[in-house]
Structure formats: C-alpha cells, structure tokens
Amino acid sequence: MKKNLLVIAAAILFIVAFIVSTTIYNQQKTEEKSTASAGKAEYLQRDYSPRIGPDDAKVTIVEFFDPACGTCSAFYPLVKQIMADHPGKVSLVLRYLPLHQNSDIIVSIFEAARLQDRYWQTLEHAYKTRDYWIEHHVAKPEKFWKLLDTLDLDMEKLYQDLQSDEIARRVKQDVSDAQVLEVRKTPGFFVNGKPLVQFGYKQLQQLVASEVTANN
C-alpha cells in the first residue's frame, strides 16, 4: 500500500514539476520577447508597408506573414473580424516573411499587383486558392500566375513590375526587419509595437482589446 502511494506521489510530482517549469519558462520568455522588440519601433513598419483600415486609428496591428502559411491564411479573416469588432479604431499593416520556398515570388506578385491597385484582391485570392498553387509546402508561382486571370490585371505590366528592384528591396527589407524583431514564425503579430507572446486568436483579441481601451 505504501508503495502504491509512492508511485502515485511520484507521478503527481512529475506532473506538477512539468506545469510549474512550464509556467516559469513562459514567464521568462514573455519578458525576453517584450524587451527584444522594445525600442525598435522603426523596424515595425516602413513607409511602403501596405496598410488597411482608418488612417487615424490609434491601434495598429503589424502582421508578418507568408502567403503559403496555412495559419496566416486562417488568421486573415480573424484579423479582419478583430478590426470589425473595434470599428474605426484598428488598422492593419502587413509585412512579408516568406519562409516557404518561392513564397518571396508570390509576395512580389502582390507588390506588382499593388501598382495596379489590386493588392488586397490579389492577396485574398492567393489565400482562397492556396490549395492550387502550393505543393508539398513549396509555392508554385507559375500555378498562381495562371489563377490571376479573374482579377482583371494587366498581366504584361504585372510581369514587368515583378522584376523591379524596388519590389525585391522591399521584400528583403521586411525579412531583415523580421530578424531584428526576432520574428521567426508566421504569422507574427505586433499590436502598437507590443509582440503577441503567446500565440493564439484569443490572445490576439485580448491584446488588441487592451490597446483599444488604453488608447481611446
């Protein structure tokens, strides 16, 4: 009987130790992450970064994303929902972190479409058609290219703009900013410069809500 108690006590001890160390570790990580991005405001958004939402919004969500990332795709409507939950108060700035192979070409297509005022349509189209242009976690730009015909784009101009140095420079800049801000996974969120430490929709909702209350 005593031995049974010993086994049970040890099992409970293991579980408690695991939970306690997890809590401590997460707290440390939270502090580290908050300090990592502190004082690096200029890396958060660039003057060229695509932005949606009211210009005078007091809360800005910065999202580092990769169009080939499934979670980014799933989060896009959720972020839109968060913005709709606080009408006129939240804006969204997108940054590129194309981690998947060839994703950098896909985001360059977005930038080229932007010159024809079709940025958000192209982005949403890419998310909608993800299954058709991603194969085994590799983006296939030629397949995405064929899916663009519904968007009323000048394809020749798009092709030329795609080669532009400015677009390549922007994508590069975004990737290097992500490194400075220690964003290694997508989507990576910042709300008014504060990083989303514990990833999740609820956590993002709470962070935005707290910033909205603090700034209005």
Binding site: K3, V7, S21, T22, N26
Partner: protein, 153 residues
C-alpha cells in the same frame, strides 16, 4: 531466515525498478518540455531515442503495480525481459547520436533531414550537459539497474 531474505530481495527489486521508472519518467517529461514548451524540434535521431524510452515509462509502471496473482508487495520479475532490449537499442541510438553531435561521425553520413541537423547543439545545461548526454545517462543507468536486478533479485 530464508523467507526473510527473500522478502528483503523483493523489496530491493521493487525499488530498483522504481528508480528505473523515475529515470524513464524524467526522460519523458524532460524531452516533452524541450520540444513542446521550449520549441526545440526533435531531430530524427532524437525521435528514435524517444521511441525506445517512452514505452519504458509505461512498462516499469505496470510492473510496479500490485498484481492479482503475485504477492502484493513485489515487482513483476519478467519486466527485465521486456525492458532490457528496449533500453539496449535505445542506448545504441544515443551513443550514435553523441558521436554525430561531437563530430566523430561526419555530418553527411548522419540520417537527418537538411533542415534539422542532428549535429547542431541546441542546448547546453550548465555549460556542458547536452541532450544526447542526458539520453546516454538515462539509458545506461536503466540498463545498469536492470542488470543488478537480474543478478540479485
């Protein structure tokens, strides 16, 4: 006298296996902490070592529980038959991993994907304890205890 000796031996046996179980449980929770909480992705060789230590946590536990047909105070002796092979194979992977880690086996010979190198040092506790070292320690300790058990109990 004879009965008494036997009783002491069965006590010793139980505690030997109990310590084995503690080691296997530490390895289980420790490895899960590294991968799930700290986000260190296990490489291929890490997975092979996990495969052989996770069942040990269950097998040792079952052998420690009171048995209907056996004496309530004892431990299932046959546990050695089932756990020793697992521990020995696991130790083989751990030693191999250590050699890759420390550079004795060149990187291009090791069976890892390019993205996740088994040779990359992810973590050094107190400056020198690496994960493959912990693995070698756990497996060797379990093997040693099981061998003692087989001889004495």
């Amino acid at each position: 006298m004879f009965v008494n000796d036997k009783k002491i031996e069965s006590q010793l046996g139980w505690y030997l296996i109990f310590v084995c179980w503690l080691i296997a449980m530490s390895a289980l929770f420790g490895s899960l902490f590294f991968s799930e909480i700290m986000g260190l992705k296990p490489c291929v060789l890490c997975w092979w070592q996990r495969i052989f230590i996770y069942p040990l946590a269950i097998l040792f536990l079952v052998s420690l529980l009171p048995q209907l047909n056996n004496q309530a105070n004892g431990v299932d002796r046959s546990v050695v038959r089932y756990t020793l092979p697992l521990a020995v194979i696991g130790l083989g992977f751990a030693l191999y991993h250590y050699l890759v880690y420390s550079g004795f086996i060149p990187e291009d010979l090791q069976p890892c994907s390019e993205e996740l190198s088994c040779a990359e040092v992810n973590l050094e506790l107190m400056g020198f304890i690496t994960i493959p070292m912990l693995s070698i320690f756990s497996y060797s300790a379990i093997i040693a205890l099981l061998l003692i058990f087989r001889k004495k109990v």
